[in-house]
């Protein structure tokens, strides 16, 4: 029940809020380049992540050209193809999605949503970005070294990752491992900021359970990342030792081109355990912020409080915990003990329970809501549909008996692209359309936005639905060319051509999106303050875009959760989190009732 009765008893004077001292930049360089302001750092993170993501997008076009029209493009050799799939996967998962969700949205939204002036360790936060940029530059450098970037596949499995015959064996793999180690160091610096800011720097009245779900998603994802990335770090450093110093952590006795190598006794499976102990939580490191953001988009644009808020929070925490006990479902074909497989299949199916709760709650939030089909809402609904699609094929692959025949086929490619490629990217798009007015003070062009949405949404299905069927008939992943293979019919080749054309069109839509972002920055319609009439705190800053320090002279005081929409008895259809109870406008006819209106 939300009380909308004017109330002065519990009114808290803003002066009671403890404030913090900020670093105030004095020059252009300290304001926009070596900036300690989380909002600037967020834009730096996002800009870098999108830039390197575009490189990975172009790589996917080249891969699709090769798959759709083999023997047509001379510049795509088998080695280059392997390098393309490796770099595309690694860039998209780590350097785009992780960096954009946590470094980009995390930095921009956490201080604003919790009512803080900035992150608690602004200097460390600044270092975090620069180390991330260094990691990206090291990765990019690997394109230009002799032998090119590594072509070991994004999972970098040894022994092949560091053996002759794998592209990039000489320098590419070294730079990849170094870049990953740098990324993890940089992320750890940022991650400490996100966690401590959420826990310790919330403004007065902002309890944990008044936090928007966006903050919950980013917060739990950051904890996952802080605990999971060490596994990748250990794996990367150990492989670096194997490659450079000749240790045998992962390298077994091996004969290469008839010559016995000096390695011996190592375990490639050990690397797989380390990699996937990171790799599966990584799925949720990307998914949880998306879950949180989409919850807020649905609530704002359906003018309805989120259904089952507490359950949503608990589900985020439960998914985070469970994500650490499912990693070996990526290793069913590694020859593991069948009992091991049984355990991981069970834990994988259990994780579907809190995930399903979230999906139901999203749908129930929409149920009888005042749905506005704005661009953020379209992307949010598209996310739900896509995530359910990808999630259901995940249930297939979580079962050992189904996974074994489908392993290393295009079915797997279709599954993970739907669930952790397309679905989170749709949320990123929705989030950008939603928060762009806050960040820039201008609206994105709606016509271009609709073109972007429909082409991306329908196009993604045209790409990945047929891919499931290719997987069913046994088309393998990571193959440069299928050639004349008896079990692959001619129609599969035709389907591959179709997918390639669809991928190119979807890629073009992303160029339109980038154009929209840049064009709207200068020519876009000026945004009114809080154009979506959102209740959460980030829209309540004195200036839009928020200035340095976010809140002017006084920190905000929070009086309610972030989901008071369409509250019966209130004159406005939303109550900002920081609106004092004595200033809530009461709708006509409700003044005398002493309204205790049901909000849920």
């Amino acid at each position: 029940m939300t009380d909308v009765t004017p109330n002065t008893v519990n009114y808290l004077a803003p002066a009671e809020v403890e404030d913090v001292e900020l670093y105030h930049p004095k020059s252009f360089v300290t304001k926009y380049i070596w900036s300690q302001d989380a909002k600037v750092i967020a834009i730096q993170y996002a800009g870098t992540a999108i830039a390197i993501g575009l490189v990975a997008l172009v790589m996917s076009w080249m891969m699709r050209l090769q798959l759709g029209f083999p023997d047509t493009f001379d510049f795509i050799s088998p080695e280059a193809y392997l390098q393309l799939i490796t770099m595309h996967g690694m860039i998209m998962v780590i350097y785009l999605l992780t960096a954009l969700f946590l470094g980009g949205f995390g930095n921009y939204l956490i201080p604003l949503m919790v009512g803080a002036r900035d992150m608690v360790f602004p200097y460390v936060n600044m270092l975090s970005y620069w180390v991330y940029l260094l990691a990206v530059l090291v990765l990019v450098a690997s394109f230009f070294v002799p032998g090119g970037s590594t072509g070991a596949g994004w999972t970098l499995y040894p022994p092949q990752a560091i053996l002759a015959g794998t592209p990039g064996q000489s320098y590419g793999i070294i730079l990849m491992l170094a870049s990953l180690a740098l990324f993890i160091i940089g992320f750890t610096m940022g991650g400490l900021n996100y966690v401590v800011t959420v826990l310790q720097a919330r403004t007065r009245g902002m309890t944990l359970m008044r936090l928007p779900l966006t903050v919950w998603g980013i917060f739990v994802a950051t904890i996952l990342a802080l605990l999971a990335f060490p596994a990748l770090f250990v794996g990367a450093v150990m492989m670096m030792f194997d490659r450079l110093l000749g240790t045998s952590f992962f390298m077994p006795d091996i004969v290469e081109f008839g010559e016995s190598l000096k390695y011996g006794g190592g375990s490639p499976i050990l690397f797989q355990h380390l990699f996937w102990f990171f790799g599966h939580p990584e799925v949720y490191i990307v998914a949880l912020p998306a879950f949180g953001i989409v919850s807020d988009l649905l609530s704002v644009h359906a003018r309805k409080n989120i259904f089952g808020y507490r359950m949503m929070v608990w589900a985020i925490v439960a998914i985070g915990g469970l994500s650490f006990v499912v990693w070996a479902h990526h290793m069913y074909v590694s020859g593991m003990n069948p009992y091991f497989g049984f355990f991981f299949a069970t834990s994988t199916l259990i994780i579907a329970v809190p995930t399903a709760i979230k999906v139901y709650n999203w749908v129930l939030t929409l149920w009888r809501g005042n749905i506005h089909l704005t661009l953020p809402m379209l992307f949010a609904v598209a996310f739900i549909i896509t995530f359910v699609n990808g999630g259901i094929t995940g249930l297939f692959l979580g079962n050992v008996v189904v996974d074994v025949p489908l392993s290393d086929t295009m079915f797997v490619v279709a599954h993970f692209h739907m669930v952790m490629g397309v679905a989170p990217i749709l949320v990123i798009f929705g989030a950008i359309y939603h928060w762009y007015p806050l960040m820039s003070g201008r609206m994105l062009n709606t016509a271009l936005g609709h073109f972007h949405f429909w082409v991306t949404f329908i196009g993604a299905y045209l790409i990945y639905f047929p891919m499931h069927y290719l997987g069913f008939i046994g088309v393998p992943r990571r193959y440069y060319a299928l050639g004349e293979t008896s079990f692959i019919p001619l129609s599969a080749h035709t389907l591959n051509e179709f997918i390639t054309v669809a991928a190119l069109i979807v890629g073009f839509a992303q160029v339109v999106f980038i154009f929209n972002i840049v064009w709207s920055l200068f020519k876009g319609k000026k945004s009114v303050r809080n154009p979506w009439r959102a209740a959460s705190l980030e829209w309540q800053t004195p200036q839009v875009p928020p200035s340095h320090g976010n809140w002017g002279k006084e920190l905000p005081v929070v009086y309610r959760w972030a989901y008071d929409y369409s509250v019966p008895g209130a004159a406005e259809d939303f109550l900002p989190q920081n609106l004092p109870p004595d200033q809530v406008a009461i709708a006509k006819g409700h003044e005398a009732l002493g309204v205790q209106a049901a909000a849920t």
Partner: protein, 219 residues
């Protein structure tokens, strides 16, 4: 309010709002820096725990060849213990407000830590020159890996210690450096504990590690 009660609160209920409106301050009664250090140590603990798991898994794959015994490592351990003692003394002095003792303690802590790192480098060189040195021996590989990672963490700590020492040298009041001293001391004790575990791990034969491996389900 305990964390469980916080997470079960119903923020949309009017009576809950009366409680929530009076919320002020962080979730824990800790400074942000203290909590930041603890979160960081949790991540570092995962890192070293995974190394121990990796060590155990790797051990099971062949007849174990233990790392060569090096007496120098005992001396290095003593140096790290002394460094930790010095930092503990510094923390006590900082709480008493005795800035002169803080100054001496920081210098002593830093000196012993640098001596430890120097000792580790000498140990690497000694190991490298041993007859029968074989880098593919996993015990030797893990020795290099673990000591390098531990040393890098200590080096990072020395940067923080150096900043604190510089503050004292520049005449900061003891109140202004107390938190930094406390954080450095916590970090030093943590790294000593990690080293003692890793040292025991590296120089135990496979028999004494049997319990660990059994607990981990690796044997």
């Amino acid at each position: 309010m305990n964390i469980f009660r916080q997470l079960t609160a119903k923020p949309w209920v009017a009576t809950q709002a009366m409680v929530d409106d009076f919320h002020v301050g962080g979730t824990f009664f800790l400074s942000p820096a203290t909590l930041g250090l603890r979160v960081f140590l949790a991540a570092v603990t995962v890192l070293f725990t995974l190394l121990i798991f990796a060590y155990g898994m790797r051990m099971e794959l062949e007849v174990w060849r233990p790392a060569p015994q090096m007496s120098l490592l005992w001396l290095n351990t003593v140096l790290l213990v002394l460094s930790s003692f010095a930092m503990q003394g510094t923390q006590i002095a900082a709480r008493r407000g005795d800035i002169d003792s803080v100054w001496i303690g920081l210098l002593a802590g830093g000196f012993f830590a640098i001596a430890f790192l120097g000792g580790q480098i000498v140990a690497w060189r000694q190991l490298n020159m041993l007859v029968g040195f074989n880098i593919t021996n996993p015990a030797i590989g893990f020795f290099f890996l673990i000591t390098a990672l531990h040393g890098l963490h200590l080096l990072g700590g020395l940067v923080a210690l150096g900043r604190t020492t510089t503050k004292v040298w520049r005449g900061f009041d003891v109140v202004q450096v107390r938190l930094s001293v406390e954080l450095c001391t916590t970090y030093w004790h943590y790294l000593l504990l990690v080293w003692l575990v890793l040292f025991g791990l590296l120089f135990s034969g496979s028999d004494s590690l049997g319990i660990l491996l059994t607990l981990c389900g690796l044997r």
